[in-house]
Symmetry: C2
């Protein structure tokens, strides 16, 4: 591994920037190239074959940029495509679902885990499967929360509209008496404060909220440091470079909210 | 025009089915082939060149099905692509924005028209342009209401979440003292009752809500009857055939809500 090469991160659109934000916190000296496939966003409504085809195109583009490893910052892709991407590329490939599942299993005390995600991720069964792979003694309740993505993109992060939507989505998890709520979509960390507040009110004061973006960043940090893959020039902060497949202007406007910092204008590529 | 050929209707996904619903009411004896480009939904976040490319692919597919005319049941496409589609095909092409604009101009008394639509349609400026083309004495206030699409798709058509979102989106139209609210997105007719109720409460009791799906259906009816294009076998009701580019199963589940009737299972095609 060329430890001075950048990390490659991709997602269908904006959401994966919450993973970049978490990576920046865990690995401030790494350079990151982020590809948002905005020409084909969202992946969540596509069938698995389509998602695999798109994911391979994104990963191959990042390979041409000579990244040292790829982080799939998209739950939809992580649900169906990591093995296909690994088989096609000679590069380490990390994803968000397995770290999220491991963090949830580590956090639960009563073995009851709740997952909120997009309809596509829920339908894939990827979270119950990844959780069961960590421990067969877990009970997973998954619930599709499709309105949370547009709420995050609209920037409605507090007030009654997101609060009532969250209450409605948490209700089945409260009935199932979970003690962990997994944010199974990269958009959800923007609503984390409100989800945490309502989960404490509705489920229990001690409920744990697992942020899969954060879990993925911590596993990436561990992965690189175990393999001596951390950047050697650790006296200067790493750079973030954004690449999109459509509408760089409107991406730039929203990116700062997801990333928590400003960046250079996104580059436009055709995959 | 072969008057016994079907009408071709297309949209990026489900929304255009509200146009089919309105067409069924206005033209119950017509056969309709509806193409939902679900592999590439939504178009609203794409750039104009991409939307034009997708629209041409949809229209050309419908041409292979020997339709007598095409109705573009998508505001995003109607905003940028009708002239490109007309230039590429030797077929009559109708769209939703111009009929919606004409209906709004006919309905207003004070010359102040409000438009709710997706961010893409608003950014295109297509409604103010189409309204100004009907009359230069109109003042148009447009406002992006991106949350209404996922609310319609989630089936949250009443209750506090959609009500409060609608109140928030109507506020700038109330300030502008419009007397007409145009539903500038084909998903919005599902929320029409609630939008009408809140517009009456917030704006004025006499506010008119213009449904562009309905306006497009009435213009299509007039267009066909003027050109002797109505189906001759008018003793049997017409058939609706659904065609999608991805995930026919999940489309079938939601289609009935948008269409207001059940249909055969959608056919899957690759464009």
């Amino acid at each position: 591994m060329n430890c001075d090469a950048p990390l490659g991160v991709f997602d269908s659109g904006l959401g994966g920037l919450t993973v970049v934000r978490a990576l920046r916190k865990a690995l401030p000296y790494e350079d990151i190239i982020y590809l948002g496939d905005t020409a084909r966003v969202p992946y969540g409504t596509r069938g698995p074959e389509t998602v695999i085809r798109y994911a391979l195109a994104c990963a191959k583009y990042l390979q041409t940029r000579k990244v040292k490893a790829i982080v799939i910052a998209c739950n939809t892709v992580s649900a169906v495509a990591p093995d296909h991407v690994r088989a096609a590329l000679d590069l380490p490939v990390l994803s968000v679902i397995e770290p999220g599942a491991r963090a949830a299993v580590a956090a639960t005390k009563n073995g009851k885990i709740g997952v909120l995600a997009t309809a596509g991720t829920i339908a894939s069964g990827a979270y119950p499967r990844a959780i069961a792979a960590c421990s067969t003694r877990m009970e997973t309740t998954s619930y599709a929360a499709p309105l949370l993505v547009p709420l995050a993109e609209e920037g409605w992060l507090d007030g009654e509209v997101p609060r009532l939507a969250i209450v409605r989505y948490l209700a089945p998890l409260a009935t199932a008496q979970v003690d962990v709520v997994v944010l199974g979509c990269t958009h959800y960390p923007l609503l984390r404060t409100l989800i945490e507040q309502e989960a404490r009110a509705l489920i229990s004061k001690s409920v744990a909220v697992v942020d899969t973006a954060q879990a993925a960043a911590l596993e990436t940090q561990a992965f690189l440091s175990e393999r001596c893959g951390l950047r050697s020039h650790s006296e200067t902060l790493g750079q973030v470079q954004l690449v999109v497949t459509d509408r760089p202007e409107s991406f730039a406007v929203q990116a700062a909210r997801f990333l928590g910092e400003s960046t250079e204008a996104p580059e436009l590529v055709d995959l």
